[in-house]
């Protein structure tokens, strides 16, 4: 191979790697329009291992994130996920609704490591149908999946034995509003997810007992985020006594570091989404 002074065509392997590092929007809307050979490279399945639709959906004033537009988001997933033909490694998309879309992800997702589907309408029976396919999963985000319950979480825990990171954030409550206690999910997490290193339950109506149970069962836990979990009395957790030296805890009181944790600056506005959903 000779490197000459006037650039020649980029070899396909190099172009494929560059493409896989581009945001998905550029991979879909720009690269195939550059020239025929670039369009050809984009048909390779290794260009589609990572499908992160969050930035695309959040662009244009987050218009695509609206609950009414689930069919558009599902259309994107239907178009893109099969391109990975089984190599899919990372999938991030908001608000999916239909069983067929979850089945499609499951079919293509046997190598999936990171699955983020917050605000989706996934239910426990759906989880039952597909959970066995996700045995490689290490990161799961089922925040604000309001139809998912404790049995569904337990199914996930039992099938995804490598799970290290669980996001189960809920819609936020107002400061003066004490939510009803709901601890079944704590039991499910504590009994089926012993390998968790990072747990994010911001806004969850879990109580002190539940958090206690999780801390006792998940001995590898390094980061616990319970922002605005108003049923939790942090002082009763024994954190001050240094019982969990490796653990960093955020919350329940709000602090500035939440944006660092991946909380969107507009997060409290999601109460509006809550209204539109119910």
């Amino acid at each position: 191979m000779e490197v000459v002074t006037t650039p020649v065509r980029l070899p396909d392997d190099i172009l494929a790697l560059i493409s896989s590092k581009l945001p998905i929007r550029a991979r879909v809307l720009m690269i195939p329009l550059v020239c025929k050979s670039w369009a050809q490279v984009l048909t390779r399945r290794d260009c589609w291992k990572e499908i992160d639709l969050f930035p695309w959906i959040d662009s244009n004033d987050r218009r695509l994130r609206h609950t009414n537009l689930a069919d558009k988001r599902e259309k994107m997933v239907r178009m893109l996920v099969p391109r990975s033909s089984g190599l899919l490694h990372t999938l991030c998309v908001y608000g999916l609704e239909s069983l067929s879309i979850f089945s499609l992800i499951a079919e293509n997702g046997t190598r999936l490591r990171t699955l983020r589907i917050p605000e989706s309408d996934i239910t426990d029976p759906m989880v039952q149908q597909i959970a066995a396919r996700f045995s490689m999963l290490t990161v799961l985000d089922v925040s604000k999946c309001m139809f998912l319950d404790a049995p569904g979480l337990a199914l996930i825990g039992n099938n995804c034995r490598m799970l290290e990171e669980l996001h189960r954030r809920m819609y936020l409550h107002f400061l003066d509003e004490v939510p009803p206690v709901y601890d079944d999910e704590a039991t499910a997490i504590a009994s089926t997810m012993p390998n968790l290193k990072f747990l994010d339950i911001g806004g969850h109506s879990i109580n002190t007992e539940g958090v206690h149970m999780i801390l006792g069962a998940c001995s590898k836990l390094k980061r616990l985020c319970m922002w605005r979990c108003f049923n939790v009395q942090a002082q009763n957790l024994g954190l001050a006594k240094n019982r969990f030296p490796k653990l960093t805890v955020w919350g329940p009181q709000p602090t500035d570091s939440f944006i660092l944790l991946g909380y969107h600056p507009l997060e409290p506005l999601l109460l509006y989404d809550f209204d539109s959903k119910f």
Binding site: M1, E2, V3, V4, T5, T6, P7, R9, L10, P11, D13, I14, L17, I18, S19, K21, L22, P23, R25, A26, V28, L29, M30, I31, P32, L33, V34, C35, K36, W38, W56, N60, L64, K72, K75, M76, M79
Partner: protein, 162 residues
């Protein structure tokens, strides 16, 4: 020649001589093979040629020398942090002639770290560009006919999302 050699001399594709320390050459498999050849063969007069031009080879060697100590010993987190900053500075280069060659050279020399870094740099660069800007920096000719282009615009499934 004994294994106490500290640096080898190589030629670039345009005939200039360069010195690479042994520890730095270990970052690339092909360079490492050359090194072994030089160390263990009897007639070590021959200077191996690397099919990379001088301008690019300077950068490649600079990268190797910087990364060699860490690759060979394994360093602390603060070192890794510093190295990351250095990488970013290192990659602030003129795209038109050098990034393209760095990509080719890193691929050819099997240097995973540099290859990945260069691809990331190219991707970051392309992020904010239009299709015609991309064509320009990579010297690509638009080989779609006007009908094909019109068809692409109409049929492109993604376009309807915006």
């Amino acid at each position: 020649m004994s294994s106490s050699v500290e640096a080898i001399t190589v030629l670039s594709s345009d005939g200039d001589e360069f010195k690479i320390t042994v520890s730095a050459a270990k970052l690339s498999k092909p360079l490492n093979w050359m090194l072994e050849d030089v160390c263990f063969s009897d007639d070590c007069d021959e200077v191996p040629t690397i099919e990379v031009n001088s301008k690019t080879l300077v950068k490649v060697i600079e990268y190797c020398e910087k990364h060699a100590p860490r690759a060979n010993s394994g360093a602390s987190d603060s070192d890794a942090e510093e190295l990351k900053k250095w990488d970013i500075e290192f990659m602030k280069m003129d795209v038109k002639d050098i990034l393209f060659h760095i990509l080719m050279a890193a691929n050819y020399l099997h240097m995973e770290g540099l290859y990945d870094l260069a691809c990331q740099t190219a991707a970051d660069l392309m992020k904010g560009m239009t299709v015609s800007q991309i064509r320009k920096i990579f010297h690509i000719k638009n080989d779609f006919s006007s009908e094909e282009q019109e068809q692409l615009r109409r049929q492109h499934p993604g376009c309807s999302f915006d």
